[in-house]
Amino acid sequence: MNAHTPLQFGKKIGMGQAVTRTEDAQFITGAGRYTDDVKRDNALHAAVLRSPYAHAKFTIGDLDVARGMAGVHLVMTASDIEGHPGITCQAVQQQIDGTKHPVKDIPLLCADTVRHVGDAVAFVVAESIAQAQEAAEAIEVDYEMLDPAIDTEGALADDAPPVYEDRPNNIAFETEHGNSDKTAEIFANAPKVTELKLINNRLVCNYMEMRGCVAEWSDEEDRYTLTVGSQGVHGMRDAITPCLKVDKAQLRVITPDVGGGFGTKVFAYREYPLALLAAKALGRPVKWRCDRSEHFVADAHGRDNVVTMRMAMDENGRFLALDVDLIAAMGAYLHQFAPYIPTLGTTIATGVYDIPACRFHIRGVYTHTTPTDAYRGAGRPEAIYALERLVDQCARDMSMKPDEIRRLNAIPDSAFPYKTVFGRTYDTGEVTAHMDQCMKVADWDGFDTRAEESRKSGKLRGIGMSTYIEACAFAGSEPAKLELKDDGTVQLLIGTQSNGQGHKTAYAQFVAEALDLDMGSIEVRQGDTDELESGGGTGGSRSIPLGGVSVQRGSQALAEMIKEAAAEKLEASVGDLELSEGSVRIVGTDRKLTFADVAAATSETLKATGEFKQAEATYPNGTHICEVEVDEATGETQVVKYTIVDDFGATVNPILLAGQVHGGVVQSIGQCIMEETVYDDDGQLISASFMDYRMPRAEDIPDFHFETRNVPSTTNALGIKGAGEAGTIGATPCVMNAIVDAVYRSHGIEHVDMPVTPQSMWQLMSQAAKKAA
């Protein structure tokens, strides 16, 4: 919507309508205001001295040179901030033996040991960034290099270098979920067992907007203010205040526009408390900005699992039990939610299938690498990737078609609500129906003709599917506060945080519909702990399922209040009033008050709160089908056709929805055939810039066919299931199943790991050809 778009009211822009994003004009024309756009006249600039080694003991020598350099105000090392706790893990798990595992926090600055390339050694503040960098380089650090543990599986070996002396075999934690005994019993007698071992490759988040912060201290207010890109100011505040040793009232957190978060911007990072401590010590604002090279080593990475799965089946391919053994790399410390991530996978480990028994065994392992944490989907993409690859392998082993084995094992429509072995209750779903629909629109049956066409130009074509389910909008709520302003506009305050998803548009739709107001008269505000006392932030696809319903309820409550206030003034009964295009009117007359009139007529500002509490998660599900072409001569893989039929329960805005799904699928295509995080044996990150880390670009992505086949959720008041992560969850197995299909047909290759780079595919095909010869 822009200045030329006519005003639209109420139902025309309400739930389900394809309203264009109100944010876009601003973002596209460079008028967005991100953290780095926040300037303070007298700000100082910070730089972090980072470890060049993966594992080393160190001592810091002379600091006087750095401290004496031009423009330098502060050189901070661990000894200067003794007593300030590091950033602590908030997701401690209960282990198999009933104990809670110990936690290795992220120190604000390392004292004597560095544990990954990029670990922080010193924090330098100067008049300019260049001066801070120069001073950081002038600090003498004497490193004594130690052997590192880098490989995720290898770190478990008895002779692997320990990341922590008190964690044998580098095991951070070990948990088990599901029904182990029953699973073991079924496997002991199973007629058929299919096994598959896969790597889920480590990813670097690479949002467009790098992290950064502006840290301030006020003597008058006796508190700190932090301006920072986040996924929720309240969670950010609560994670940082312990490091500062202050209570919550002494830290205000503000988040302006955010250019991508994908889970990774939920977290507090050490630079934020360091900048705050420096700002207080120096009495001037301190600004820190992460550059792209720093991002590669300093921001939490995603994924990095090694998973071994077994499926027990009867003679007909009916699934009897599933066994999953997951090794999840934690990196050098336990990041804020890290142990929770693989655990989240268990919420949907059996997918859309009726599997009566499952054991899910998890070992979190420390390595001398950048810590991992939530990345779009957080544990659920990993779980569904593993399962859907295994299901295709089962089909090959049983000489069944991919859809046939899925049809046989899918939870029947009649079995919903369906309780899984992990105790989750899927409320609604029609699994084979979206699969049928997707196969139809993808022209699954016409594949052979297309494969022949591809063959003519030297391309091996494959087709693959995934039928996924995921859990999101976990139990909880997100209250919405609405207020009628004097000028007749409405302000919404809510504790989620848009990172580019389009919250302002989606929330305003609910308000517009309930109040019959135009979008331009609705202001959506997020991102300031002073404006709102609490908030759950954005993550786990929760903002619209939870926040959206709250906004609708709050808007409806405000509508009633407006009518009541107007009734008095118009000397009419509330029942005779209706809201229409920003006014309250006596039905069938032209007697009305504008919202501004109503605001003027009330002695107290009209304020309403809506809160929807959800007791269970919601379960979006769907089918993805894609086709790939592998260039037989070069090994290059391209995704050439992509079809999605999703069940999101209910659609709030089809444009925003398609955007979420497209983006998620693109991230998965990136993971499948491009994004490769490569550490060498010394723990150096080889793929540490865009020169070596391949990001997906528009030319790599096919057109998408996306449609919904919604079955409303009964858990959510508006039937919404959530859609922020589903694209990523459905797509990775779909793309990989298509790639395996292509090379299984041509070369009999069954084992393919992500990412399928041109070189790795060429090697696979060459080896297979050699074997065949």
Binding site: E636, S687, D692, W762
Partner: protein
């Protein structure tokens, strides 16, 4: 970035007089500026060549082509006379980087830098081009002396390149998956039955000719003529994107595709 001083040169002579011992010429800046921002280069002076009119533009006279050093990739790509005299080179320029890079980056900067993965050097070799500097002329064969190394002396300025357009030419590249520079870029040019093959991205000593391919193709300009040619992986670069074996394989695939496209 480290501190540096900036000088806008108004002539080649002015530029040469300002460069000093620790200065660098600034052309499109597409390579030099990122290196400086990462603090990997620290010239004390930047001498900007952008405003020297003599260094810009494409001139085509029959089969004789001359391209000023400061001509951008986009200008080379869009030049109508070049498109008819030597379409393969115009097309190559249109495949470098992205639009922003093509509108800043220059042919002089590209060859002076001699990134082993850059596209132009393969073309210069296959086209038997002459590199003109402020003091001499150097044949392409002598110019590219090693990875990131050229025959240029300290402070010497590339002013133009020139060549006689071949009867036919084609360039095919397999792009590095991440950087999208050439991982194997092969330029094949037919000069009246005498075929020259220039290769970028693959050889560890930078852009190189492949004489076995040239011999096989001279007199038999067909993709099949390359079947019997073995590309030696021993001379090839190796990194996470492509082992030397893979690069050797790709050089042959790209050479065949180039010949097929001629």
């Amino acid at each position: 970035m480290y501190e540096t001083s900036y000088h806008r040169a108004d002539s080649v002579a002015d530029a040469a007089s300002k460069i000093g011992d620790e200065g660098k010429y600034l052309a499109g800046g597409m390579t030099l500026l990122p290196t400086m921002k990462q603090r990997l280069a620290a010239p004390d002076t930047l001498v900007d060549l952008t405003h020297i009119g003599d260094l810009k533009g494409v001139s085509v006279n029959g089969k004789e082509v001359r391209i000023g050093a400061m001509t951008t990739h986009a200008e080379v790509n869009g030049d109508a006379a070049l498109q008819s005299a030597c379409p393969s080179l115009a097309k190559l320029a249109g495949g470098i980087g992205d639009p922003a890079v093509r509108h800043r980056g220059t042919i002089g900067g590209s060859i002076a830098n001699h990134d082993p993965a850059a596209d132009y050097p393969a073309a210069m070799l296959a086209l038997n081009a002459t590199i003109h500097t402020d003091s001499r002329e150097i044949s392409a064969d002598d110019f590219f002396s090693g990875m990131f190394e050229t025959a240029l002396n300290e402070g010497e300025i590339v002013t133009a390149i020139s060549f006689t357009a071949p009867d036919k030419g084609a360039y095919e590249k397999f792009r590095n998956p991440a950087s999208r520079y050439a991982m194997a870029g092969v330029f094949v040019a037919d000069h009246g039955g005498d075929v020259r093959v220039g290769v970028s991205g693959a050889y560890s000593n930078g852009a190189s000719r492949n004489s076995e391919m040239e011999t096989a193709l001279s007199g038999n300009l067909s993709a099949d003529a390359l079947d019997g040619v073995a590309v030696d992986a021993g001379d090839m670069l190796s990194d996470i994107h492509g082992s030397s074996d893979y690069r050797a394989h790709l050089v042959k695939v790209m050479a065949k595709r180039a010949v097929a496209a001629m």
